[in-house]
């Protein structure tokens, strides 16, 4: 059964000037994790906001746990948890204050709200800081508290919009651990991210979106095999980029990609280590000494590159 279904969603901003979603469709099987992967501005947040009843699409339809989000937003709100890009909690209040308040707003009753708050604080290792104002929390702690707030009523479907954006590597690892625990508990999760690594780590399925459209979807492995097998990467001095590119393209038989900043030339190869040796030999004949040479399994970065023609991170920075 599908827990989340979005069909032909279109959303434009500023009177049609900016097209955030352009006929976007996706679905999430119950009890699985779908990662919506794409650069900034691809339409990830807009998708989540529509599914979480915060935004109405211009056209298209969507349902969560079988309920139409446009016709019955109130019913949907009782079944979902949402944790956004920013830690949406009251910073002047303590962690305990926040969770009890949200419990009361879910109409849990006073005692049940307190009990739930304490359970969640314990589960997310926040008991020690429960009585401190959120503004004294680290970024990772804030996100965990925010996530806890979205779990007050055991949501059927959980939406996490870029849960680790802006966190340091340690905070990110902790957050991944927490999310993996949740997934084991059986929640249906739709997670957006611009980190390919994150999608790879957490998701059962990945939907790659760009310019408001799903441009590919499948498991991480399926997407990787879509790009082809291994890639050969060579880093050389600036002076040798052109001849090296020619050698690689000749052996690979496909167009090479040049990362100018890193002076890294890469291309897909089908013959694995044989290709590596061929390239080394050809470079040696040409008296070019590579600074680095490697054979890599394709990453989701490569997937994104081959699907969109631009790197995910590049656009994210812009």
């Amino acid at each position: 059964m599908k827990s989340v279904i979005a069909q032909h969603l279109v959303k434009t901003y500023r009177d049609g000037e900016v097209k955030a979603l352009d006929d976007l469709s996706l679905d999430v099987e119950e009890g699985t994790v779908l990662s919506v992967l794409g650069p900034n501005g691809a339409g990830k947040t807009t998708t989540v906001r529509i599914l979480a009843t915060l935004l109405k699409p211009d056209s298209g339809s969507a349902s969560v746990a079988g309920i139409d989000v446009i016709k019955h937003p109130d019913k949907v709100r009782e079944l979902i948890g949402l944790s956004g890009q920013y830690a949406a909690v009251d910073e002047t209040l303590t962690g305990w204050d926040n969770l009890v308040m949200f419990g009361r707003l879910y109409h849990l009753g006073k005692q049940a709200s307190i009990k739930r708050a304490e359970d969640l604080l314990e589960r997310f290792s926040l008991t020690d800081s429960a009585r401190r104002p959120i503004k004294t929390y680290s970024g990772g702690m804030r996100r965990r508290l925010d996530l806890a707030a979205s779990l007050i009523v055991q949501p059927k479907v959980l939406f996490l919009d870029e849960p680790t954006t802006g966190l340091d590597p340690r905070g990110r690892q902790e957050m991944w651990g927490v999310i993996e625990e949740l997934v084991k508990g059986g929640v249906t999760l739709l997670l957006t991210t611009q980190y390919l690594e994150e999608a790879d780590q957490l998701a059962d399925e990945i939907a790659v979106i760009d310019h408001g459209k799903v441009i590919a979807r499948g498991t991480s492995d399926a997407l990787k095999s879509q790009v082809g097998g291994e890639r050969l990467e060579v880093i050389v001095d600036a002076a040798h980029i052109a001849p090296t590119t020619a050698i690689i393209e000749k052996i690979s038989g496909q167009k090479a990609h040049l990362d100018e900043a890193l002076r890294k030339i890469s291309a897909p190869v089908s013959t694995g280590s044989l290709a590596l040796m061929d390239v080394l030999r050809a470079l040696d004949d040409a008296k070019i000494h590579p600074l680095d040479i490697a054979l890599k399994r394709p990453s989701l970065d490569d997937v994104f590159m081959s699907l969109t023609g631009h790197a995910a991170e590049e656009e994210a920075k812009a």
Binding site: L55, D74, A87, D90, M101, H107
Partner: protein
Amino acid sequence: MKNAIADALIITKRQLLQLARVPEVLIFSTIQPVMFVLLFRFVFGGSISTGQPGGYVQLLMPGIFVQTVAFTLAATASGLAEDMKKGLIDRFRSLPIARSALVVGRTLGDSLLNILVLVVMAAAGFAVGWRPTASVLSVFSAFVFLLLFGYALSWTGIYAGLAVRDARTVQNVSFLITFPMTFLSNAFAPTTGMPKALQYVAEWNPVSTMVAACRQLFGLENQFGATANSFPSQHPLTTSIFYMILIMVIFIPLSVRKYKNSSN
């Protein structure tokens, strides 16, 4: 409906908790009006003759009460803008609660804060010679009207906060409006000294009508505002009630609509 009220009260409680967690806010929001009482009482008090018993402070206190409740709309607006920016509004909107809860809860919280501030100011006024001469009931009703006036104005703050979305900007904008409004009135000095055009503005200014109404309810003659036999200076309380209703009729639906569509 019952849930809507319960939800709003939880938001009100949140605001009280904020005050408990950050007591500086409470201290400064009471110190400022008390400072105004003392400054005006002792700086202008000697040079403005009122022709009424009790001196300037009798006329001053209603003016400062009105000014203070008007100034709280800046706090309403900036608090809400802050919630918008932090994404807190999105979280509230994704909860199964009444759409009105957040904004209604906040206006109630602001009223509670106003009660406290008015009590502290009344005490400060009493200490420097303010003595209302009307009956207890009349004085009490003046405070009720002050709270209602503050409540009506807090809806303009709600709307401004939702529309501007930046706490510092909306706070500055609010002061740019409330500051001249409270001074272009009969609150601190007679309007008769103003240029003719400004006199009309001052006379119809809701701050003036509210100040005049309070002066009457405290047992004074309102000579500061009575520059002509115009309707607002003859019937300050009626005019004030009309203004309060007008403000709420305009700004409550506008705010609720703005809140509902705040992400569209």
